[in-house]
Symmetry: C2
Subunit: 290 residues, 2 copies
DNA sequence: GTTCCGCATGAATCGATAG
DNA sequence: ACTATCGATTCATGCGGAA
């Protein structure tokens, strides 16, 4: 059977089933924020906590299949508190995904600078989420220069006038193996970031609220893909990942099961394209054989 | 057998063995940063990754015994990368400690603003560590007002930048009990912090350096204990937790196996007490029956 | 007594080379 | 093939002494 899939579309359907239509090893980056576990049945897309790992594992299996060998999977997730405890399904999911063959390469912290206000007697506001990085192999594409950040203010004074030791390689006195030549830093404007991201959550701009700001997928898209690469979000929700791809000239495939979210995502994309119609990218036709 | 233990001392010995001498349910807060896993044999106190969970579990069992029912255990830890992957022993430890009866109440993030430099092809600098909160029961002591911060990002940063020595200097100048900076903030609105802490590591040229800044234990001591409460650090290293207790008028018990670290801790404490001899607290004698 | 400026240090990690 | 050692890379801070 041959399925023709257009790039840059939001497919409507359940993730697991829809993923099966995709070809092996065609995706450069998977970025997603799956529905969080929730025991309240009536909640949108809530998966009961006790079922979460078993619900996700078949999906991550498909994700591993469709990801290129040098591609990356970023999973934005945070475990709920229930009964006063942090639940452990995310930890268990990491362990199970490793058994599935994934490498757990890194855990980025998304620090939400303006997190939801509130006060509880036994805990503070939760201001961070995990962005778990998984890979299929130790070698993967990473374009570190694309996410460099301005060097700190300290450098202005520090590098203003260099001492004698600054001009040669100065070995650490305690034998930590750490030596440096400060003069190499002269004129440096940009440095590499760390694994902690400081991003504000965006408030809703049109009645809906994205679960993450567009800068979150943007950062990972810049870091792990180059232009015209293909990004997959199997739980695209209101379409933020697609918008990030549009802005960064990457192709995207989104999957969304809920009708209202699917429509919302499509509307956002249409709005973006009409606003940027001069820049709008051509819709490539692409054969995904299964 | 009756053992008389003085409060405010650093016991010399292995953690597991030394803990057995402590009475049940006598500790208000355990704060510790155990030796991190390390495969390099020659490194100080390195525990091989594969043995880490089994090494720690008997200790956490004793910690649970000596902790009061409404007390808190804060575990500062971060897993190593090995073979290009984040290792999973910390995740496994959380799961095992839950089986031991601990509640995993919260995970605080310590964001290290001045993390270790370096550049690698497949990862960025690691700028955060876990501070895992465990409790024996759902109701525990938490003094949230003690760690309120002035509203606004600017002041949060400023507070984080304020080192303990800064505070001491200010206090000694003004003598009012308030540093001058803090008094400036008195008119401003105080808000509760989040579960993300922004603190720099101290890496002074003092011959030694603690693996964490004193502001890290200080924050948790203020949050989870009141004056004259008892804090335990079963891997006290260079004594930072004890210094935090001295400054905050809490009692402490430290445990340290390595002779040089034990001496270092004692020296730091002696230095603090001679510098603050007016304020030095009396050494209470306290019977810990076993 | 205060500000300014020099500088040592760090729970790091990867790849190459050697045993 | 597998393990142990070693060199290379790199940013931001607090402390101490000078101005």
């Amino acid at each position: 059977m041959t399925i023709m899939l257009e790039l840059d579309t939001i497919l409507k359907g359940e993730s697991l089933l829809t993923l099966k239509a995709l070809h092996d090893s065609c995706i450069d980056l998977i970025f997603t924020s799956p529905p969080y576990a929730d025991n309240r049945k009536k909640t949108y897309k809530g998966i009961p906590i006790k079922d979460y790992v078993n619900w996700f594992l078949p999906i991550s299996c498909e994700l591993k299949r469709v990801l290129k060998n040098d591609g990356t999977f970023i999973l934005n997730i945070k475990e709920r508190t229930e009964n006063g405890e942090r639940q452990t399904y995310v930890l268990e999911l990491i362990l199970e995904m490793k058994r599935q063959g994934w490498l757990w390469t890194e855990e980025f912290i998304w620090h939400k600078k303006n997190c939801y206000p509130g006060k509880w007697p036994n805990r503070f506001r939760d201001a961070w989420e995990r962005c778990l990085q998984f890979n299929k192999q130790k070698k993967f594409n990473m374009y570190q220069d694309a996410v460099k950040v301005p060097i700190g203010d300290w450098s202005i004074k520090r590098l203003a006038n260099l001492s004698e030791t600054d001009r040669r390689r100065d070995e650490s006195k305690v034998g930590s193996g750490f030596g440096k030549n400060i003069s190499n830093w002269l004129g440096k404007k940009l440095v590499y970031p760390t694994n902690v991201l400081h991003l504000s959550t965006e408030c809703a701009n049109r009645g809906h609220s994205a679960s993450f700001p567009i800068s979150l997928p943007s950062w990972f898209i810049k870091l792990f893909t180059k232009e015209d690469d293909l990004v997959l979000d199997p739980f695209i929700g209101s379409g933020t990942t697609a918008l990030a791809c549009l802005e960064l000239n990457r192709h995207y495939i989104g999957i969304e099961a809920m009708d209202n979210y699917h429509r919302l995502a499509q509307d956002s994309i249409d709005a973006w394209e009409s606003k940027n119609n001069g820049k709008s990218r051509t819709l490539d036709l692409w054969a995904l054989l299964k």
